[in-house]
Symmetry: C2
């Protein structure tokens, strides 16, 4: 079982050093500390275990070190920054694992950009050696890239020429869409195994500058000082500690404090229940800061995140997740009010941004989601987003029971999807005026009002309810899991596109296709043959 939780004391591959407003995140991959058998992590190459630590470090910076204004990502290995994803790991992994591995590493790089965009921390890639493949893709997720000019170190994307696959961790997309490298130069760079150095790398926009070895550290320090001095007074607050999440597991269950997962393996679906907040939550930033990571919206969404990652990687045969909530709607609405009122406080902002990231992780999970709304549920405001993230929403229609849902201020923009829209905007593309109508609706929505408003898909009455849910689950889990993955990826993200949707849609889909092709993974494929004395043999038919 792969565990996504870690903390700096347990890192094998990264050193996180904080010095006032500057964090230095240094990669020093231990080649034997792999997450699976059969390969060594040479030359600062990475596997999922290395990236889980990086993701943890970025997450901790946001909550534990709000004082940090600049993050330097560098390497402790001489002459090498990072060689990217380990090829032997990719060569020996199943298709499903490769796809999930790439998705997680993509999410980590998007989390770096999310921190930069929303929390103003500036990420500086200090390439003290060659950054190839995923190594350069990590650099390109940072705001600035500096490369040592030692006559040898280069940046490169050698995936196409050496491995017959794509730089699929955002590389191709960020090249032309983030750094806006001219497409013909991007073409040359992406087919040049040895990459580019110094002046040409800078002229082409692949790096921001290069410095000779003797001046490299000094130049990085100077740039960091500049960045830090641009925002001298912000966030002198103390951070909060993110403690390990506790959970209890049996064969078929996984229970956190606020999140419970029930696996129905034989029927290939899971029930995932989020338990809503208590009524006595703090309402001021000081009290929230005191409560720290026990505060419901932080704890519950961290647990939800862990549960989603667990389901993705450890339960591949679970094709459908039924999302449920339990609790008091009024408590959720009260909580949302507190969050909305204090969004300019650093901790509340981070808590809300984390909720948004977890919800995007849900959108990007290759499983079907049905929201099931029954008596005792609390799909309101921030928890209503779970229903709005779902592929379908079933809400019981029984006039004899109180079954309601509600919107809050947070549905109006706190949780943007990868396409940049709110889930309400994405839902009502045909009738954009409905977004404001639904948000302005003062009362809660009972089942009929929810149906009328377009917030739910089906509203079976109590006579049909159980059969209808059972049939819907059976039907869904009988369909081709591949077709469902492609269908959901196409239907969930209508409307505008962003760099993120391009990475998770276009680039990932092409990479997944290539990851299936004999030219990459067949017995004579380039990925299979990497490092062997035999040459890859291609079927040269273009498709």
């Amino acid at each position: 079982m792969i565990n996504f939780q870690t903390s700096p004391d347990h890192y094998h591959h990264w050193k996180l050093q904080i010095s006032g407003p500057v964090a230095t995140l240094s990669m020093d991959v231990q080649e034997d500390e792999t997450i699976a058998e059969g390969y060594k992590l040479k030359l600062n190459s990475y596997d999922l275990g290395v990236d889980i630590e990086l993701a943890d470090a970025v997450q901790r910076l946001r909550f534990e070190h709000p004082e940090v204004r600049a993050v330097v990502i560098t390497s402790l290995k001489p002459r090498i920054f990072c060689a990217g994803a380990n090829i032997y790991m990719l060569g020996t992994s199943s298709h499903a694992f490769k796809v999930n591995f790439c998705k997680f590493t993509n999410e980590t790089r998007c989390a770096i950009e999310d921190d930069s965009r929303h929390s103003g921390r500036r990420y500086i890639a200090a390439l003290n050696g060659t950054a190839s493949g995923g190594g350069y893709e990590l650099a390109i997720a940072c705001d600035e890239i500096y490369l040592v000019d030692d006559g040898n170190s280069a940046v490169s994307l050698p995936e196409v020429p050496l491995l017959g696959v794509l730089p699929g961790t955002g590389g191709l997309t960020r090249l032309v869409d983030k750094r806006k490298v001219r497409r013909d130069r991007a073409d040359v760079f992406s087919t040049l195994a040895e990459g580019l150095k110094g002046k040409r790398a800078k002229d082409w926009g692949l790096i921001d500058d290069s410095f000779p070895t003797s001046r490299f550290q000094e130049a990085i320090d100077a740039r960091v000082a500049q960045v830090v001095n641009l925002r001298p007074d912000e966030n002198t607050q103390m951070g909060i500690k993110l403690s390990p999440l506790e959970s209890e597991s049996t064969d078929d269950t996984r229970d956190y404090k606020y999140v419970g997962v029930n696996l129905n393996r034989e029927k290939r679906y899971a029930d995932l229940t989020v338990r809503g907040p208590e009524s006595d939550l703090p309402t001021t930033p000081d009290e929230i800061q005191k409560l720290g990571d026990d505060y419901w919206p932080l704890r519950a969404f961290r647990e939800l995140d862990d549960a989603l990652l667990y389901l993705r990687v450890n339960e591949p045969e679970i094709g459908l997740v039924c999302l449920r909530t339990e609790g008091d709607i009024d408590n959720v609405l009260a909580l949302d009010k507190t969050l909305a009122a204090n969004r300019d406080h650093w901790l509340v902002r981070e808590i809300v941004l984390n909720m948004a990231r977890v919800l995007r992780r849900l959108d990007l999970t290759a499983k079907s989601f049905f929201a099931i709304i029954e008596p005792g549920s609390c799909f309101a405001g921030s928890l209503l987003e779970l229903a709005l993230s779902s592929d379908r929403v079933y809400m019981l229609n029984n006039p004899d029971q109180r079954i309601e849902i509600a919107t809050s201020e947070l549905n109006a923009g706190a949780f943007p999807m990868s396409n940049g829209l709110t889930r309400l905007q994405s839902r009502f593309l045909a009738e954009p005026e409905k977004v404001d109508e639904v948000l302005a609706h003062k009362d809660m929505f009972d089942t009929e009002a929810a149906e009328e408003a377009g917030l739910i898909t089906f509203a079976p009455d109590d006579l049909d309810w159980e059969d209808e849910i059972r049939l819907a689950i059976e039907e869904r889990t009988s369909l081709s899991p591949d077709a469902l993955t492609g269908m959901e990826a196409s239907l969930r993200f209508a409307g505008p596109e962003t760099m993120d949707t391009k990475i998770y849609g276009r680039l990932t889909a092409w990479q997944n296709w290539i990851f299936q092709r004999p030219n990459a993974v067949g017995p004579q494929g380039a990925l299979t043959n990497y490092g062997k004395p035999t040459q890859a043999q291609f079927d040269y038919k273009r498709t």
Copy 2:
């Protein structure tokens, strides 16, 4: 060899009737008239041959029948409009053929939308029977959809539940992005094999209206009359005739009047040369109309289109096309001046729109393109777009010879890419001011000026030229063709996204992935097993 040329006299599957301002395009597929062996085209299902006729009809309407204001697409078969792509054809086709087939059908549907958007013809899908799969995808490419209400006829996308593949001819994308169907309803509809009828189909936005059998024809006629009456006086002009393209072929060459293809099969690349216009071209719409389809920009780009389709489908092992031009730059610039000055004349508008479509076909071709600029070439204005479409541009640097390129007014917006930008805008995303600079540049660009302006990739001198081109070709054609396809699809379309780029990027990439998966095409896959007594068996792991 598959031939993409046809004309109404040769149609097997469609009837094109023109009655004043109304064209009726009726599908009546002859089940034995297939383009390959091993299947019958029952129930108005289609193969590439059927779609080649449809593409031809839409193209002819634009040039031969400018008087047409409304196009009704319907069926001559009772109770069935169209059952979509033939499943047995898909089941017996190679992966490469399936992918190319889907790309062409997508281009045909985009051509319908292009006609509607730019030439104001309104397409009305009159579904006198069930439209399933590709049948509904054809309808959804039209502006309006009307379904007969006979208690039986439905619209449906049964690909996911029945075949384990996607509605990949734009269906999923147009559902949520064009018709803006709510995502949960799109999810239900796309997993419901039997589809939806009448009122619910209308409520969910899948159709515009439904009428009982007895009133169906009358209702369609009334709507058509309305459409036609909205623009009563436009285009009473006579059309021009599109004659068959003539070409001569040997084993290694294919020669049209203005386009020549030279195949270097052993080295897996082709030279494609466009011969520029003569100096005595007409300058007024009347003269152009008189010249008809012999007019260079129409003839040359129709030939280029045919050559690209030929290369795609009949020469799959050709991985690289070297684009060359021959002729006088001044003639191209004079021609562009005429086109630009007369763009409000219907025929000139159609000619320019056709050039734009052919250039988009080039952008979407899964082969690498290198533009090769040598003495005697004429990469100016509309022909400069060939260089701007290429993955790389090589221009000889020899001060002793006249080697120049030039922009014209037509580079400023006449030929938008699928992403909605001009090729200059896509090229200069990082320095948008360069677009205007380059367009304002009065002189021609010699090699050094072209390099300085960012219009070319490499400028080898005459000593290195031959070696450098030879090496670039060898290197390119040695790489994995799949990785190149995915890479080019990612690098060519930076910047904004449109419905078209979503269809060719995201949706197509997912479909291609699924077309490789055992759950669809393995011995127990759903596509393989369709129509057999055995049930599909899935590996239920979600990726």
